[in-house]
């Protein structure tokens, strides 16, 4: 994770218009070596349009993209050679075997001979398809197809890997395997652009996240930076057997407690720095005569940030 090392991707002021619809407007971000950058936003936010412009699939109506020092256009080949692309939908040839799929795309990226053969063998091991290498991919399970889909993007050892919602419709086991692969690749120094509408994935994988909605990046930064936008207020839920009213009044007197509300089984608090304030809060509850049977502390997350920035939930 070295965001300030040489930038592998530099996208600035991207704009794309479809008829009367402004799909992407003034989107800028950059990714360094070994960095994983997430574009987090709901469906239709402009993630795929952005990634399509970055990789040169779509003509831009404005802005610039530079990958590994080379400008990206729909016609550029040098920049494209540095990019590995994993489309959202499975993009493989079902009537070709896993090896044939990899071989075809490897040749398209200028690979060949024994180097390509060795690389394919390595990659088949990595994506767990070595024992099915010569089976037609139409016979594969959904998870296996997903792995092959990702493998094709990795084959030529790109400097920048773009994954467009790679876990949509994937079972939990395969999803976890995909996330682990991305973590490993990032650890090996690859720059990764990862689009998702799953907050958990963005939080787990991404060094920095751009929150995108209605074609615009609403905010960008590390998780901590983004969370700070909504204030470092943790949600503390206390389950109490009795004296709820007295406990609520006692807790409200604590200077770090911002808000107190009741729920069916106890009390919810919004607290600035729950970790530090928690012992005092429990002491206050005990002093009010309540026996606290359960405590849950939830730190603010990107879901809350998205809600704060857009006024709507991430999955709306």
């Amino acid at each position: 994770m070295t965001p300030d090392n040489g930038r592998v991707l530099e996208a600035s002021n991207l704009r794309k218009v479809f008829g009367d619809l402004v799909a992407v407007e003034d989107v800028s971000f950059h990714i360094g070596e070994g960095e994983t950058y997430g574009l987090l936003g709901p469906n239709g936010a402009g993630k795929t349009t952005t990634i399509s412009m970055v990789i040169g699939l779509l003509e831009r109506d404005g802005g610039e993209v530079v990958v590994a020092g080379n400008p990206v256009t729909t016609k550029s080949t040098t920049a494209k050679a540095a990019i590995g692309y994993v489309p959202q939908d499975i993009a493989i040839y079902p009537d070709l075997t896993a090896r044939e799929n990899l071989s075809f795309f490897g040749h398209l990226y200028g690979m060949g001979g024994s180097d390509l053969k060795r690389r394919i063998d390595e990659l088949l091991e990595v994506i767990g398809l070595a024992d099915r290498a010569d089976d037609r991919s139409e016979e594969f399970s959904g998870g296996m197809k997903r792995r092959l889909n990702i493998g094709i993007g990795l084959l030529h050892g790109p400097r920048l890997l773009m994954l467009d919602e790679p876990t949509v419709g994937v079972d939990p086991q395969s999803r976890n395997a995909i996330l682990e692969s991305v973590e490993r690749l990032s650890g090996e120094g690859m720059a990764v652009l990862y689009t998702t509408h799953y907050m958990e994935e963005a939080e787990r994988l991404c060094d920095r996240v751009g929150i995108i909605d209605e074609g615009q990046i609403k905010a960008e930064g590390t998780r901590a930076e983004l969370v700070s936008l909504v204030g470092q207020r943790d949600k503390v839920s206390l389950v109490t057997a009795d004296h709820a009213q007295e406990v609520a009044e006692a807790l409200a007197s604590h200077p770090d407690v911002v808000e107190v509300s009741g729920n069916e089984s106890g009390i919810d608090l919004l607290v600035s720095g729950a970790a530090a304030a928690l012992p005092a809060l429990l002491q206050l509850a005990a002093g009010a005569g309540a026996s606290v049977t359960s405590v849950e502390v939830v730190e603010p997350n990107l879901e809350a940030v998205f809600l704060h920035l857009t006024g709507k939930a991430l999955r709306d």
Partner: protein, 394 residues
């Protein structure tokens, strides 16, 4: 070029693997050519037929002799059919009914007198019920002759009426006979067009080959729409290759499949059906032009269709309509709107080119037809280039 070749090789691998290429490119055209040759070959390929007609002369007069000598015997001499003289109507009934002959001409007693006197006269045709086509041919021959005699009679009567002479049967009969003898009432001229006719096996081999060529080329160009549908187009566009090489790769696939299919069909129909395609170089030029024409149409269809299914259906409709208009199934009259429409199709020119080759005109005989067929493909393909870009996108 390298990328285009890679795409072509990948496509060929896929097409060979799903095997539909063998059905559309070889089995169906070869099978249909064989079936059409067997079913319809007997009608169109007269030299292979053994057709016999009977004739009964109950009249014995000059007019009856004239019909036999000037009409039937020349056709007999042409080798179109055999004439078998019979002694009586009863024998004619018997032998025609037994199928020994297709039909029998019966010249009744008094036929010559009636013709000479300008009286009603008729030639009877006894047809075999199992041979309706050739019975109809016999009726046509008799009808042609009757029409000719009536015309001559009418002319003579008009002449006599204008000159104020009363028609005298004794004068008229020899006159009618003389005119008929001078002007053969029914002749069969071996015209230039007729000499360009292909044998049934050759015609249907060529017709089915060109029809199915327009279907087999879709296995390449149509792949552009399939790549979009399967999302693999996004990967191709993301790869460090030009968009033009994607289109070129698909065109190469169509070209190779079309050419291979035609080559196999030419060789296959020659060996299996006895088709005679003519000068190999001329055939190669025509085939090349045919592939270009088929690709041109396929590019237009692909450029305007939204899905591979839609494009496939559209291409099939166009292929069959062009084939029918172009006379690949049945001959199309050379005159009239249909004739002019037919000449707009590459199919008609392809078959015409083969006809020219069949007459032994040499390789240069195929040039005019090949030029039109290739131009058809170049023009349609050129039109498609304005829209094909909309297919090569995510």
């Amino acid at each position: 070029m390298r990328a285009a070749a890679l795409i072509m090789l990948k496509d060929l691998r896929q097409r060979v693997r799903d095997r539909s290429i063998f059905l559309w490119g070889i089995i169906a055209p070869l099978g249909l050519a064989a079936i059409f040759s067997l079913v319809l070959g007997g009608i169109t390929d007269t030299q292979n037929l053994d057709i016999s007609y009977g004739v009964v002369d109950e009249d014995g007069g000059a007019q009856a002799a004239l019909f036999i000598e000037e009409v039937l015997e020349p056709l007999n001499d042409e080798g179109l059919f055999t004439i078998e003289p019979m002694g009586s109507e009863a024998e004619a009934d018997q032998r025609t009914g037994d199928g020994e002959v297709e039909a029998t001409f019966l010249l009744p007693a008094g036929f010559s007198d009636a013709v000479g006197a300008g009286q009603p006269a008729s030639i009877l045709v006894i047809g075999n019920v199992d041979s309706p086509t050739f019975s109809q041919v016999a009726r046509s021959i008799a009808g042609q002759y009757a029409g000719q005699v009536n015309t001559i009679n009418a002319s003579l009567f008009t002449y006599l009426a204008l000159s104020g002479e009363a028609p005298d049967p004794a004068t008229l009969e020899p006159l009618v006979g003389e005119v008929l003898a001078v002007t053969p009432p029914l002749t069969l001229v071996d015209s230039e067009a007729a000499s360009k006719q292909l044998s049934a096996a050759t015609f249907y081999s060529a017709a089915m080959a060109i029809l199915f060529l327009f279907l087999t080329v879709q296995f390449g160009v149509l792949g552009l729409l399939e790549e979009r549908q399967n999302e693999t187009m996004r990967r191709l566009l993301a790869a460090p290759i030009s968009r033009r090489s994607i289109i070129f790769g698909k065109a190469l696939t169509s070209f190779v499949i079309g050419l291979a299919s035609m080559a196999i069909l030419v060789i296959g129909t020659t060996l299996l059906l006895g088709a005679e395609w003519g000068d190999p170089l001329g055939v190669a030029i025509l085939v090349l032009a045919g592939v270009i024409a088929a690709m041109g149409i396929m590019f237009v269809v692909t450029a305007f269709a939204k899905t591979p299914e839609q494009a496939g259906n559209l291409q099939s409709i166009i292929a069959f309509v062009l084939a029918m208009l172009g006379g690949a199934f049945f001959p199309v009259a050379a005159e009239g709107i249909l004739g002019r429409l037919s000449l707009l199709t590459p199919h008609a020119w392809f078959l015409r080119g083969l006809g020219d080759l069949a007459t032994g005109s040499g390789v240069e005989g195929a040039f005019p037809a090949a030029l039109y067929v290739a131009l058809f493909g170049i023009v349609t393909g050129g039109i498609a280039q304005f829209r094909i870009g909309r297919v090569v996108r995510p």
